[in-house]
């Protein structure tokens, strides 16, 4: 059986806070209207795609 790894809940909470900081969102008390867990199936982080290049 293959050993599996997963993020701890404290990690998920910390990353949620980090993401809110990134967006500049000021979270009201107890307003956790979304969760990373709900978004897991939507995509993959992977490597950044090639940034767009301005036309010369």
């Amino acid at each position: 059986m293959v050993q599996k790894f997963r993020a701890a809940q404290t990690t998920i909470d910390g990353l949620e806070t980090a993401f809110l900081g990134l967006t500049g969102y000021v979270m009201p008390d107890h307003d956790l209207t979304w969760s990373f867990n709900n978004d897991r199936s939507k995509g993959k982080s992977g490597t950044a795609p090639t940034p767009p290049v301005a036309p010369k």
Partner: protein, 192 residues
Amino acid sequence: MPQKSGLKSLHNAASSNPIQRMGLVLDHLVAALGEDSSSPLRRAQILVDIDAHPNTTQTEVMDRLKINKSTMSREIDWLYDHGCVIRQAGQQDGRLIHMTTCGYSKKSLSFALDYADHSHKNLQKFIESLITVFANPKPTLRDAKLLVSATELGDASRQELFARAYKAPLTTNIRTLEGLVEQGLIETDSES
């Protein structure tokens, strides 16, 4: 043809997943630091601060980020040696060295800022929040990327996690993963 800003908006819109966005921001920060994913998050924070305050001095950065002088000098030397910042003597006081981001660092930071509503303050909050997640006092961008990947994947094998991690020798990735497990940031089943 869409303008540059239009292309960036489309690029951002295609990356609407919060975890995906964080992964991309980390990728751009790594690019801004010369593709050195072993860079501490604190170094990224210093670079973002200099980008936010062109022609700033080392003392000013130290005051804003509350970083001690020895760490600061070491990190500034690293950033200068890797072409991330330029240093110029002050016109009025030659002893004052002014720093500004340049070249690939400035360009990569601009891509990272796309995800932060073009706000250096937001980008700093993001990095600062990431640093507080770790028990380790000097977390690296590689650590952060592995956490983001583990959060996105849910239950994942070591190979699946390493496929998302920054390129490094296997021993480096194993050591990074073990460190995160020891800190309680990643949980694992017992091998059977």
